[in-house]
C-alpha cells in the first residue's frame, strides 16, 4: 500500500470530495444531475481502483453498479422526470454560494479532525479513505438541508450514499453482502422516490417542498 497505488486512491477519494463541493452550489437541476453523474463516475473509478489494489474482484461488481446504475441510469431517468414535470428550468434558491461553501469547508475540516485523530492505528489508506468518506457524507447532508426541491434533496441523499460506498470499500475485506445490499437499497430508495415524485406532482402541481410545508403539523 505504498507509492502509486496509494496516491491514485488518495486522488480519487479527494476528487469525490471536490465533486461534492461542485454539487453544493449548482442551482439548476440539469447541472445538478450532470454533476451527480460525475460524482458517481468518480466513485466507480475509486471503487475499481480499490478492487485492483486490494485484489478483491467482488469490488468490481460494486464499481460496475456505481457506473451503470448511479452514473447512467439514475441521472437519465431523473432528467426525464424533471422534463415531464416541467421543472427543468426552475432555479433553486440555495443558501448562497458563499455560506454554503464555507459551511462545507467547515464540515470537511471536522471530518478530517475527527477521523484522523481516532484512527491513528489503522492503515493510512483506510484512515484517509474514511476521512474523505465522512466528508462526502456530511456534504451530502448539508446539501439535503440547503435544498428546497425534492429532486435536489434526493440527489443530496444519493451523494451521501456514495460516501458510504466509499467508506465500505475502503474498509478492507468488508463482506460483499453489504455492498450489494447498499446498491439494492439505492434501487429501492429510487423506486420509492420516483413514485413519490409522481404522486407529489399529481397532487400539488409542484415538487417544491415549500408547497408541502403548508400542510405540516397540527390541523387547526
Amino acid at each position: 500500500m505504498h507509492g502509486i497505488s496509494f496516491d491514485v486512491a488518495h486522488m480519487l477519494a479527494g476528487s469525490l470530495v471536490l465533486v461534492s463541493f461542485l454539487q453544493l452550489y449548482q442551482d439548476r437541476l440539469y447541472a445538478l444531475l450532470n454533476i451527480y453523474a460525475l460524482h458517481a463516475l468518480v466513485l466507480a473509478l475509486s471503487v475499481a481502483w480499490q478492487a485492483y489494489v486490494q485484489q478483491a474482484p467482488h469490488l468490481y461488481v460494486t464499481a460496475a453498479i456505481a457506473l451503470l446504475f448511479k452514473a447512467i441510469i439514475i441521472p437519465v431517468v431523473l432528467h426525464r422526470i424533471i422534463v415531464r414535470l416541467g421543472i427543468h428550468r426552475e432555479i433553486e434558491k440555495v443558501v448562497g454560494v458563499g455560506p454554503a461553501m464555507l459551511l462545507g469547508m467547515g464540515l470537511v475540516a471536522l471530518a478530517m479532525v475527527v477521523m484522523l485523530r481516532v484512527t491513528m492505528e489503522a492503515d493510512p489508506l483506510a484512515r484517509e479513505d474514511l476521512a474523505f468518506a465522512l466528508s462526502v457524507v456530511l456534504l451530502g447532508l448539508l446539501m439535503m438541508v440547503t435544498r428546497r426541491n425534492a429532486v435536489g434533496q434526493v440527489v443530496g441523499f444519493m451523494s451521501l450514499e456514495n460516501g458510504l460506498v466509499l467508506a465500505a470499500t475502503g474498509a478492507k475485506g468488508m463482506p460483499l453482502v453489504v455492498e450489494i445490499s447498499i446498491a439494492f437499497s439505492v434501487l429501492i430508495a429510487f423506486i420509492v422516490i420516483g413514485i413519490f415524485l409522481f404522486r407529489i406532482r399529481e397532487r400539488f402541481d409542484t415538487v417544491d417542498l415549500q408547497a408541502l410545508d403548508r400542510f405540516r403539523g397540527e390541523r387547526p
Binding site: A122, V137, M144, F157, V177, F215, R216
Partner: protein, 479 residues
C-alpha cells in the same frame, strides 16, 4: 434442520406477502394475513423450547427471543384488528382494492423485515433489515395519498434515510474496529464473534462508531431532537400501521442500539455509552411530556406519548446496571403491548367519530361504552398507574435511579408527572362529559385490544419467573 424455526419465522411472511399481492378480495386476504401472522407467532413460540445453534448469519439468544415472540404476537393481534379496521376503510372508500392488496403484502414484508432484524447475527444484515422495514413503512404511511399523508411519508423517508445512512457509517466503523483483531472478511461482522473479542478493539474507533449508531438508530427510535418524523408518520398512515410503528418498529431500532451497547460494555477502555443515552432519553421524555399538552389530533397525541416512553426506556438503559436494564426491557415489552392496544382503540374511535380531532370527540364512554372504557383503561395503563405493568417498570426505573443519582431521578419524575397530567386532561375531553361529534356504528373486534390490556394487567400483578429469569440474564449482559 438446525435452522428450522428461524427459517420458518422468515419464510412464512415472505410466502404470505407473495400470496397476498397476487390474490384479490378483501375477506380472503384479510384472513390469510391473520393466519400467516398466527403461524409465525406459533413458530416463534417454539423458540422458547429449543434454540438453534448460532450460525454466521442468524442466532437466537435470551435478548432477541423475547422480542421475536413479542413482535410476532403483536403482529398477529394487529392483523386481527386490521381486518376489521380495513373493512371499514374499504366501505367508506378511503382505500381501493388495489391498494388493499399492496397494503397486505407490505404488512407481511414489514413482519419479515422486523423478524430478520431480530434474528440476524450479522451487523450488516441487521442494518439491511431495518432499512427494509423503514422503506416498507414509508410506503404504508403514504398509502392514503392525501396531502398530509404524502408530506408525512416524505418527511419520514428523508429523515429515516439519513438516520440509516449514519447507522451504516457506524456499522462500517465497527467492522474497521473488529478487523485487526478478528481478521478480514465476514467474521468481523458477526455479532457473536465481535462481542467475544470486543475487549481487544481500538476504543477510539468503537466510541466514534457508537456516536454514529446512536444518532442513526436513534432517529429510528424517535429520540428528540431526531423525532420530527414520528408524529406525522403515526398520525397520517392507517391505524394498524401506527400500532405496529409505535409498538414494534421503535423497539427494533432500540434493539439494534442495545446490541451495539453490549459491544461497548464488553470493552473496558471504551467510553461509557450511558451518559449519552441518559441525556437523550431525558430530553425526549421532558420534551414529549410538554408537547402532549397542545395536541389536537388524537393519533399525534399518542405518537408523542411514544416518544416519551422511548425516552424513559433509553434513559433506563443509559443508567445501566442489572435493575435499570431489567426495568428497561420490561418497559419495552409493556409499552409495545399497551401502545398498540391504545392505537387499536384510537383507530375505532376515529372511525366512529369520522375524524381524528380531539375537539370533535367527547363522552365516548356514554356513546360507545366498550370502546370508551377500553381507551380509558389503555390510557390508565400508559400513564403508569398501578396495578398495570407499566407502573411496575416505571417504578423500577425511578427507584433504581433515586438510589444512584437523585438529581436525575427528579428530572425523570418531573417529566413523568407532566406527561401524566397531560394525558388525563385529554382523556377527560375524549371519554367523559357531553357526547360530541358523530355517533357512527362500528363492527369492531375488541378482542386484540382487551387481550393486550389483560396481558399488561397480568404482568403488573404477576410476572412469570421464566420471563424474569430471561430478562435478568439479558440485563446482566447489557452491562
Amino acid at each position: 434442520m438446525t435452522l428450522g424455526p428461524i427459517a420458518a419465522v422468515l419464510l412464512i411472511p415472505v410466502v404470505a406477502a407473495v400470496l397476498l399481492a397476487a390474490l384479490p378480495g378483501y375477506r380472503l386476504t384479510a384472513r390469510i394475513n391473520v393466519v400467516a401472522t398466527l403461524a409465525t407467532f406459533l413458530v416463534a413460540l417454539s423458540l422458547f423450547f429449543g434454540r438453534p445453534s448460532p450460525t454466521p448469519y442468524f442466532h437466537v439468544d435470551d435478548l432477541n427471543n423475547v422480542f421475536i415472540v413479542l413482535t410476532t404476537f403483536v403482529g398477529f393481534t394487529t392483523s386481527v384488528f386490521s381486518a376489521s379496521y380495513i373493512g371499514h376503510e374499504l366501505a367508506i372508500g378511503r382505500l381501493t382494492p388495489t391498494f388493499l392488496r399492496f397494503y397486505h403484502a407490505m404488512y407481511q414484508v414489514l413482519m419479515f423485515a422486523m423478524n430478520l432484524a431480530f434474528v440476524a447475527n450479522n451487523i450488516g444484515l441487521i442494518w439491511v433489515a431495518i432499512e427494509l422495514a423503514t422503506l416498507t413503512t414509508v410506503l404504508m404511511v403514504g398509502i392514503y395519498r392525501t396531502h398530509e399523508a404524502l408530506e408525512a411519508a416524505w418527511k419520514y423517508f428523508i429523515l429515516g434515510s439519513v438516520g440509516i445512512a449514519l447507522a451504516l457509517f457506524g456499522t462500517i466503523l465497527i467492522y474497521m474496529a473488529g478487523r485487526p483483531v478478528i481478521g478480514e472478511g465476514a467474521d468481523a461482522m458477526v455479532w457473536t464473534s465481535l462481542v467475544a473479542r470486543a475487549a481487544d478493539f481500538d476504543p477510539a474507533l468503537l466510541n466514534l462508531a457508537f456516536v454514529f449508531l446512536l444518532l442513526g438508530y436513534g432517529t429510528k427510535v424517535g429520540l428528540a431532537p431526531l423525532h420530527a418524523w414520528l408524529p406525522d408518520a403515526h398520525s397520517e398512515g392507517p391505524t394498524p400501521i401506527s400500532a405496529v410503528l409505535s409498538g414494534l418498529l421503535l423497539n427494533v431500532a432500540l434493539y439494534a442500539l442495545l446490541r451495539f451497547k453490549m459491544l461497548l460494555a464488553a470493552n473496558p477502555a471504551a467510553l461509557a455509552p450511558g451518559p449519552l443515552m441518559v441525556t437523550m432519553g431525558l430530553i425526549s421524555l421532558v420534551f414529549a411530556a410538554f408537547m402532549l399538552y397542545r395536541r389536537r389530533d388524537i393519533k399525534r397525541l399518542f405518537a408523542y406519548s411514544s416518544i416519551e416512553h422511548m425516552g424513559i426506556i433509553t434513559f433506563a438503559f443509559g443508567m445501566g446496571g442489572a435493575l435499570a436494564n431489567f426495568a428497561g426491557l420490561l418497559h419495552m415489552t409493556m409499552h409495545s403491548l399497551t401502545k398498540s392496544a391504545i392505537f387499536f382503540a384510537v383507530g375505532h374511535v376515529a372511525q366512529v367519530k369520522g375524524t381524528q380531532r380531539i375537539a370533535d370527540m367527547g363522552g365516548l364512554t356514554e356513546t360507545h361504552p366498550v370502546l370508551g372504557w377500553g381507551l380509558v383503561l389503555g390510557v390508565v395503563a400508559i400513564a403508569g398507574l398501578p396495578p398495570l405493568g407499566i407502573f411496575t417498570s416505571e417504578f423500577l426505573v425511578v427507584t433504581s435511579t433515586f438510589a444512584r443519582s437523585p438529581f436525575l431521578a427528579l428530572i425523570l419524575v418531573f417529566g413523568l408527572l407532566v406527561g401524566f397530567a397531560a394525558l388525563f386532561q385529554r382523556l377527560n375531553t375524549i371519554a367523559f362529559g357531553e357526547p360530541r361529534g358523530e355517533r357512527g356504528e362500528t363492527h369492531a373486534s375488541y378482542i386484540p385490544m382487551f387481550a393486550h390490556l389483560a396481558l399488561v394487567l397480568a404482568a403488573g400483578i404477576y410476572l412469570p419467573p421464566s420471563l424474569v429469569g430471561w430478562f435478568q440474564n439479558v440485563a446482566k449482559a447489557l452491562g
